[in-house]
């Protein structure tokens, strides 16, 4: 739909952020990043490159050591949706009650947001499982509930921290397809942390390749293929070319770091 990356309104600016942990470990150096409305950004890198730290900073779970994170128009209570690596559901609550959580914390009764919850569940194809308990669901279905919970407030930005890493390949593929469908239907803005080159090329329109020690962005690769993307995108020559370029960048960086040691 939107292939032109230049004309979107910025919703978030990460300005030259450093994060240093105690004992002097520099997790991130000079991280600068503008997130525009409708972006699907992948943070791609080896473990220890600070991609999860970047996500936690944006989520407000950590404060930057130096630098600033600015939301256009300030950050509201429901500007963020988050999907973790694990489904992170409350086992004592039904699927619908889990999706209700963000509203509940704002004092909104279940009844008053029932339609929104049903809408979110139908977006992830789980409308029939509203009254099931998480333990009754498969790993992939739990992840869908988690996504529904992130979507339900219609946040300005959704953060996903390697959400499908623990799933089997077939489920993962399916959820990737579904995520793109969701993206096309809701126009959601997403930051997606992954260590899979193929996942990042398949899903995102901007890939930020990161390197470790210190964690930093070394290159931005743009993927101009418009959404919705289907199976033909995965088999196209352009996909293969970008995947090669991304992979070379990633391994060049990893190799350089290893050589430096």
């Amino acid at each position: 739909m939107i292939a032109d990356l230049g004309n979107r309104a910025p919703i978030l600016n990460v300005r030259s952020v450093d994060k240093t942990f105690n004992k002097g470990v520099v997790a991130l150096r000079r991280l600068s990043l503008t997130v525009n409305e409708g972006d699907f950004i992948s943070l791609l890198g080896p473990s220890g490159c600070g991609k999860s730290t970047a996500l936690r900073l944006i989520a407000g779970l950590m404060e930057p050591s130096i630098g600033k994170i600015d939301w256009t128009g300030g950050q509201g209570a429901d500007d963020l949706g988050v999907v973790f690596q694990e489904p992170t559901l409350m086992p004592w609550a039904t699927v619908a009650k889990n999706v209700w959580t963000p509203f509940r914390l704002r004092g909104q009764s279940f009844r008053s947001v029932k339609d929104r919850i049903e809408e979110a569940l139908s977006l992830v194809g789980l409308e029939k499982f509203a009254n099931a308990y998480p333990r009754e669901l498969s790993g992939g279905m739990k992840m869908r509930v988690s996504i529904a919970r992130a979507l339900v407030t219609r946040p300005r930005l959704i953060l996903m921290d390697e959400p499908f890493a623990a799933l089997d390949e077939i489920t993962r593929q399916k959820l990737n397809d579904d995520l793109l469908n969701l993206k096309a239907r809701t126009g959601a803005t997403v930051i997606f942390v992954t260590h899979s080159v193929f996942e990042s090329v398949f899903l995102s329109d901007r890939i930020l390749v990161m390197a470790a020690r210190p964690g930093r962005i070394i290159k931005e690769i743009q993927v101009p293929e418009p959404y919705p993307r289907g199976i033909e995108w995965r088999t196209s020559a352009e996909y293969a070319r970008i995947a090669r370029e991304t992979s070379d960048t990633l391994h060049g960086a990893t190799g350089a770091t290893e050589a430096a040691e």
């Binding site: 779970l61 988050v82 973790f84 694990e86 992170t88 409350m90 959580t101 963000p102 914390l105 308990y133």
Partner: protein, 289 residues
């Protein structure tokens, strides 16, 4: 398609499927299901029968070991005294457990709200717990005039610690991602407690409750032994003590049976409460097939 070429076609299957191992397993499962109920009853009946025979064969006098028949008879004939004593013990046990639940959970919540409160006061709870109630009780009876309150206090000391320590552990055992989620959605302290910590702590609390139920009874009985004064309003332990002074061994046995039965019923009730509270979601209460 070389793969399909080399794979032989599946043999057509005729008749019903048999798997000796699966059948053995199923048979065993069925047996275990029956044995689960039959065995304990059978063994208990055998033990009682042997007890009876032992008394009869050896001509043991009733002031040393009464037979089960005589104990049952005493249970009925002395029911007036025993039942009113049982009621007193039950009342103390139930109230001690109730106060232990309220106190244990309340202190656990305070501990979870303030690490400093926990650091400051947890040692007191531990000291109370590790000092045998038998050794503190005489002091308690000196300082607290009201005998009922003193008994209650003794039973409470014994019962409240497992609830406190289990609930404290439970309130801390929160999934850290869920905790992050609460932060991201800007939950306040109260919401975090209400929606995340208390439900997470529920299985732990239930474990504590089951232990505390039995301990409350033990605490009540031990305290009664120490309190020792007779008359109206005395519990089962006192009646047992009194019977032993009078060499009324059958009544001692009858009293013991009542205490044991009470303990079993308390355990059954707390287990039932636990199951009812957790059956929808917690592993401990789920039937695996």
């Amino acid at each position: 398609m070389s793969l399909t070429d080399t794979t032989p076609a599946a043999e057509p299957i005729e008749g019903p499927l048999h798997d000796a191992q699966e059948e053995r397993k199923a048979r065993r499962k069925k047996m275990e299901k029956i044995a689960k109920y039959v065995l304990p009853v059978l063994v208990m009946a055998l033990a009682i029968w042997y007890w009876d025979r032992l008394v009869v064969w050896n001509n043991i006098p009733k002031y040393i070991l009464p037979g089960p028949g005589l104990v049952m008879k005493t249970l009925f004939s002395d029911w007036g005294i025993l039942s009113s004593a049982l009621l007193v013990t039950l009342k103390i046990t139930a109230m001690a457990l109730g106060v232990a639940v309220i106190g244990g959970v309340a202190i656990a919540v305070i501990f979870s709200l303030s690490r400093f409160a926990e650091m400051s006061f947890a040692p007191f709870a531990v000291i109370l717990q590790v000092t045998p109630i038998v050794s503190i009780a005489p002091l308690i009876f000196i300082y607290i005039d009201n005998r009922f309150i003193a008994l209650l206090f003794c039973a409470w000391i014994v019962a409240f610690f497992p609830i406190l320590s289990n609930t404290t552990l439970g309130l801390k055992s929160v999934d850290h991602n869920l905790s992050d989620l609460m932060t991201i959605y800007r939950a306040n302290r109260w919401q975090r407690l209400r929606y995340l910590q208390l439900p997470s702590a529920l299985p732990y609390f239930m474990g504590g409750l089951r232990i505390a139920g039995g301990l409350a009874l033990i605490g009540a009985v031990v305290a009664e032994y120490i309190a020792g004064t007779g008359g109206i309003g005395s519990g089962l332990a006192f009646r047992i003590l009194e019977a032993s002074y009078r060499l009324n061994i059958p009544r001692m046995f009858a009293g013991l049976i009542l205490i044991a039965a009470t303990g079993v019923i308390i355990y059954g009730l707390t287990s039932l409460v636990s199951w009812l509270a957790l059956r929808k979601w917690h592993e401990s209460a789920l039937n695996r097939e």
